[in-house]
Symmetry: C2
Subunit: 216 residues, 2 copies
Amino acid sequence: MPRSSQPARRDRPEPRAATVARRASVLKAALDCFTRHGIDGTTIGDIQKAARCSVGSLYHHFGSKEGIAEELFIEGISRFNRGMLRRLRQSRGAEESVKAVVRFYCDWSMRNRALASYLHSRDIDFSEQARARLKTVYRSYITEVFTWFGPFVAGGTMRALPPEAYVPLISGPIQEYVRRWLSGHYEPSPARMKELFADAAWQAVRSRGPAGPAVH
Amino acid sequence: MPRSSQPARRDRPEPRAATVARRASVLKAALDCFTRHGIDGTTIGDIQKAARCSVGSLYHHFGSKEGIAEELFIEGISRFNRGMLRRLRQSRGAEESVKAVVRFYCDWSMRNRALASYLHSRDIDFSEQARARLKTVYRSYITEVFTWFGPFVAGGTMRALPPEAYVPLISGPIQEYVRRWLSGHYEPSPARMKELFADAAWQAVRSRGPAGPAVH
DNA sequence: ATGTTAACTAGAATATGGTTCTAGTAAAAG
DNA sequence: CTTTTACTAGAACCATATTCTAGTTAACAT
């Protein structure tokens, strides 16, 4: 096929430096507005003012207000995922790894409070296209995570469970806690709960039965 | 104070039957539209058509599109809460109660799929007033729940934990699982996971230590 | 350097759709 | 039977998301 002999023609043609900067500044401004007034509450004008750019510019780069919201969301998720994988790869052994997931979730959310809060808003009104992108991002992430944990399950350190059960069991509680904390339901910092949830996560997925007792 | 001697003047003056019906039909129509096209994707016109009523009527009863969304949300939460409390009160003992929470969450979500899905959309752009109402509803609910479980903790059957830890530990996993299931991430019905998560919940909050081993 | 192309910016014009307003109708209250 | 008030209707209004046309700037080939 001649297509493959074309010298990387279809790749994007290297965005200008100004473009990168503008996109970033828009996303930053948008996050700011969104956290302040909610997604619906912020107008294109708000973002425009905060990012100091024209309507035309916004639409050129993102196509729509929704486009901005989607981009912000996907970028945020990607950043979170990258961070999680980095942290995971620094961990040794099953227990440390499982706990690392919980701890990272907590730490990251506290460090990136606004973004974390935004990521908790649901993707109800995302476009089909954005949904697809998100799915891709998630798939490649979850694949890496499972690759990491696979050996522990195979080796019998962790319970063998239906694959869909692991994420809820490990991250469910901390996620729910952080969500409530972010939306201001209560004050106690997640940091104080971190180890509690980390332990619980490990108890939920560690191997039980003949291998040994579950307690001290 | 003379105010208190006024004969219950401030109560609502008994809504007409037609009013109740209309409100209900609007909420039903709205839920329908929202699940089909998302909240933002739904126009007042859509709801109007689906509920067969005029704009004026909508605004008379709910004040705004957001008002409709809020009402639907609060009503949904209330129904869920009532159901949960009913189920809880049919349970005997700590273990059965804890597991009942998980099971009910799962059952209810499957039975009321559209509403459950709607309730998972976050309350980002709710009015201050709605937020307050929601808080009231939640508070009275959580109070009853804690009243129910209090004795088990006091009696040593359940672990003593920071109060904010219980909900995430017990409901976090099933909630996360159901959320993913509702948004179509995967097929396996929550029913197949119900007992797994019920067990995990119980393990997370049951008493450990000297009282007995954590396993078989 | 200079011309050519395409990425990018700008803001006025447009269109969509949420909200308000005025004028009613029907049901309860006295 | 009158009065009051909850309720309905839909046209007018208005905020704001999006589109359009006209430029401007940067990269790049000659």
